[in-house]
């Protein structure tokens, strides 16, 4: 497996050679993913897969050690009533919470992801963003979720956006880099595609739709457009890039539709939390509710599922 990690990554014009994206065509294609039949064993497998791909997230100004500890416990004990469930893939927190999160999930296999680069707006000088990132990595973050400079992107300074991603990548060291495009601010699918290509060529290990602070977030149209960028890059270089839709995926049904899309666009190799993640805070309980329904035959009220 090759890595997307060329340290001397320089911006080249061909990275902007992104194909046009037709919104109507994308909508039609996406509709087809929603008609595949997922039930019984297929549904159970899909649900467990989805559970194992979740980045359980808390990104609030009012986050405290207490809140983060509780969430970390939940990440490892999703629903102890039902043995044999997987854990989530990671917990996602602010840099100041990395240390405590790291301690809480130690030895569980759950990763700690930290947002950085003046999340969510990204409106800070580059030095500050690098410091922010290095701090999170030093505190023990396994994964870094950075935001791109949308203002620079929209004003056509692609070079700046590219270099910034490349420098953050360098600051990440061994941590895997997820690049948040904040697609809700990019407005068009053409822009989403262009930003995806830029991020991938600049060294992203993952590309991610949204911060969760802006609507619309991870629509299937946007995720599809980003998956196609990943596919084209893989076909060209043989390097796998991960995908993380974040924000707006709160039901099992939508999660399963996303998995169908990943399977049909990129193939089964991407159906693991190594290459696909859901950034979500409320999805886990809906998935658990569906799993319990399948096991017991009845729906339980949300009071039977813990809300850390």
């Amino acid at each position: 497996m090759k890595k997307n990690q060329d340290k001397k990554n320089r911006f080249q014009l061909e990275y902007l050679n992104s194909p046009a994206v037709d919104k109507v065509g994308v909508e039609e294609r996406v509709a087809r993913f929603q008609t595949r039949s997922i039930k019984d064993a297929s549904k159970m497998q899909g649900l467990k897969m989805a559970l194992n791909m979740i980045d359980l997230t808390t990104l609030e100004g009012k986050d405290t050690h207490g809140k983060v500890k509780q969430m970390c416990y939940k990440a490892q004990h999703l629903h102890d009533v039902l043995p044999g469930l997987p854990s989530v893939a990671a917990v996602c927190v602010y840099p100041s919470m990395v240390k405590i999160a790291k301690k809480e999930v130690a030895g569980s296999g759950v990763n700690v992801a930290s947002v950085s680069t003046a999340f969510p707006s990204g409106q800070a000088p580059l030095e500050v963003k690098i410091t922010d990132t290095k701090f999170a990595v030093d505190e023990g973050a396994d994964e870094i979720d950075m935001v791109i400079s949308r203002g620079k992107f929209l004003s056509g300074e692609y070079n700046y956006v590219f270099d910034e991603i490349a420098m953050i990548k360098e600051a990440c060291g061994k941590a895997r880099l997820k690049v948040i495009l904040e697609t809700g601010e990019l407005a068009t699918l053409d822009n989403v595609r262009k930003a995806s290509d830029l991020a991938i060529y600049a060294g992203a290990d993952f590309i991610k739709t949204s911060t969760g602070k802006i609507q619309p977030a991870a629509t299937m149209q946007v995720t599809y457009t980003m998956l196609m960028a990943i596919k084209d890059y893989y076909d060209k270089t043989g390097i796998m890039i991960g995908m993380k839709p974040a924000g707006g995926i709160s039901t099992s049904k939508l999660a399963l539709h996303n998995l169908v899309m990943v399977k049909e666009v990129l193939g089964s190799a991407w159906l693991t939390n190594e290459w696909f993640r859901f950034g979500a805070s409320s999805l886990a309980n809906d998935v658990l509710m569906q799993i319990m329904k399948a096991e017991t035959g009845v729906y339980q009220s949300s009071d039977y599922f813990s809300i850390d």
Binding site: D22, S37, S42, S268, L271
Partner: protein, 487 residues
């Protein structure tokens, strides 16, 4: 670091999801629907109609002959003069609306029977064929009492008895395309469905019976080519509408020459789908797939000739091949199925003949590795590259899931090549440039031209061809004009 791990790939299969057939009602034997009654064929003969997906017999259907057609035409003439042409137009509209609503109520049953009889996927018959067929009735019902507004400053009269012969690729939809405008304009109908797919037309007859439409206004006579010929040659038929092959269309045109019968023909095609280098490539690839593999390529306007600008040809072809591998071929009743069964053994043989010719001509063939059900008629989606205009497979209509791919360098070149065919039914243009779209729509000689999409149908939009693809239009106001006399 996680990336160094070798992660085993776990396959995730969809759950088979067969649409149920317990809710449909099929009789063991169907008679002819003439003068509002179910009538035994005068020959006493019946023929079997099978499910092409598994070769099982679905039902037996009456084989109508000249005598039966004569009965049907007489019934249609009587209903025309005594009831339908003199009925207030608003009353006519009520019947047509009622047929549309009854079709909607039985949409699920119609979709399943269409899939069983024709081999098309349930996804298509459920989401496209049946809803569109209903919409044609709704649309034309609206025109019935507004004909003076449809043709301003003209006096509008109905024609009389319309003989209609429809093909097997969209059995119910074609019946709707033909019957709805005929009725709205005040004509009566004798319709013959194709011999391999008569069942939904017979279900439509049941719906028409239930709607209380006056006897004889719509008559359905099942049978083979000779049954159709009897309709064409009947002296009391005022108008012939035919959809089917160009060869049969030519025979019909000869037969009606000098008889004063009005004629519309919707025949074959070899439509060009043109991809420019600035096109939204991934959506264009989807459009190509949809353009040629929709209904297993049994579509008269199928985008069967692909023209790709040479500088993106490798990319487009690689993406097409890749996409073919994610198509599901199999039981048409399964909701996951993308590609269903070929309509008949005969058609499968025709398609295979052309695939053989393509290989002999030196074109390079590509088919994905997909498992083909043992019983039934199936053909994997097929691409041919290294094709020239001079290849037989690029010239003749194959009417199956076979795409020929040619490259071009300039706009003028592709216009010439796209027009260099005896047909002219449809074309597709894929580009991000609006001005280029308008340039091509004026220069391509085809009845329908889609831009950045393909195979889109709507009752309000006329459909029909240039050259050997036929004449006359169906759908929209143009479709109505084929069923009226303007004085």
């Amino acid at each position: 670091m996680a990336t160094k791990k070798n992660i085993p790939v776990v396959e995730w299969e969809y759950a088979p999801s067969l649409e149920g057939t317990s809710h449909i009602q099929l009789k063991k034997q169907y008679d002819l629907f003439i003068d509002g009654k179910w009538v035994k064929p005068s020959s006493g003969k019946y023929f079997q109609t099978i499910n092409p997906a598994n070769e099982e017999v679905l039902s037996e259907v009456a084989y109508g002959n000249e005598k039966d057609v004569d009965l049907a035409v007489k019934a249609a003439r009587k209903a025309y003069t005594e009831v339908w042409s003199v009925m207030p137009a608003a009353e006519r509209a009520k019947y047509i609306y009622r047929i549309a609503r009854l079709m909607q109520e039985r949409a699920r049953e119609l979709a399943v029977i269409e899939t069983l009889d024709a081999g098309k996927t349930i996804r298509e018959s459920r989401d496209i064929d049946v809803p569109l067929a209903c919409n044609h009735f709704f649309y034309y019902a609206g025109w019935a009492d507004k004909l003076e507004y449809a043709f301003p400053n003209r006096k509008v009269e109905s024609i009389g008895v319309a003989g209609q012969i429809i093909p097997w690729n969209f059995p119910l939809l074609m019946a709707a395309w033909k019957i709805a405008p005929a009725l709205a304009a005040g004509n009566t109908v004798v319709l013959k469905p194709a011999e391999t797919t008569p069942l939904t037309a017979l279900k439509l007859a049941e719906i028409i019976e239930a709607s209380g439409l006056p006897a004889g206004v719509v008559n359905i006579v099942t049978g083979f080519g000779d049954t159709g010929a009897a309709i064409v040659n009947h002296t009391d038929v005022d108008k012939i509408a035919f959809t089917g092959s160009t060869n049969v269309g030519k025979m019909i045109q000869k037969a009606v020459a000098g008889t004063g019968k009005k004629l519309t023909l919707e025949l074959g095609g070899k439509s060009a789908n043109i991809i420019f280098d600035d096109a939204p490539i991934d959506q264009a690839v989807e459009g190509i797939i949809n353009g040629i593999f929709f209904n297993q390529g049994h579509v008269c306007c199928a985008g069967s000739r692909l023209f790709v600008q040479e500088n993106v040809a490798d990319k487009v072809i690689a993406k097409l091949k890749d996409r073919l591998n994610s198509l599901y071929l199999g039981n048409p009743l399964d909701k996951n199925t993308d590609i269903g069964a070929i309509n008949s053994k005969e058609q499968l043989e025709t398609i295979n003949k052309y695939i053989k010719i393509g290989k002999q001509e030196g074109a390079e063939m590509y088919q994905p590795s997909c498992s083909i059900p043992k019983k039934g008629f199936y053909c994997p989606p097929t691409l041919f590259t290294n094709v020239a205009q001079s290849n037989v497979i690029a010239q003749e209509e194959i009417f199956g899931p076979v795409l020929t791919i040619q490259t071009f360098r300039t706009v003028d070149e592709v216009i010439q090549k796209a027009n260099n065919t005896p047909f002219g039914l449809a074309a597709g243009v894929w580009t991000d440039k609006g001005s280029r779209i308008f340039n091509l729509t004026t220069k391509l000689r085809a009845g329908v031209i889609w831009a950045n999409t393909y195979n889109k149908f709507d009752p309000t939009s006329p459909f029909g061809g240039y050259k050997e693809s036929g004449f006359g239009r169906e759908g929209g106001l143009h479709g109505l004009s084929s069923y009226v006399k303007l004085v």
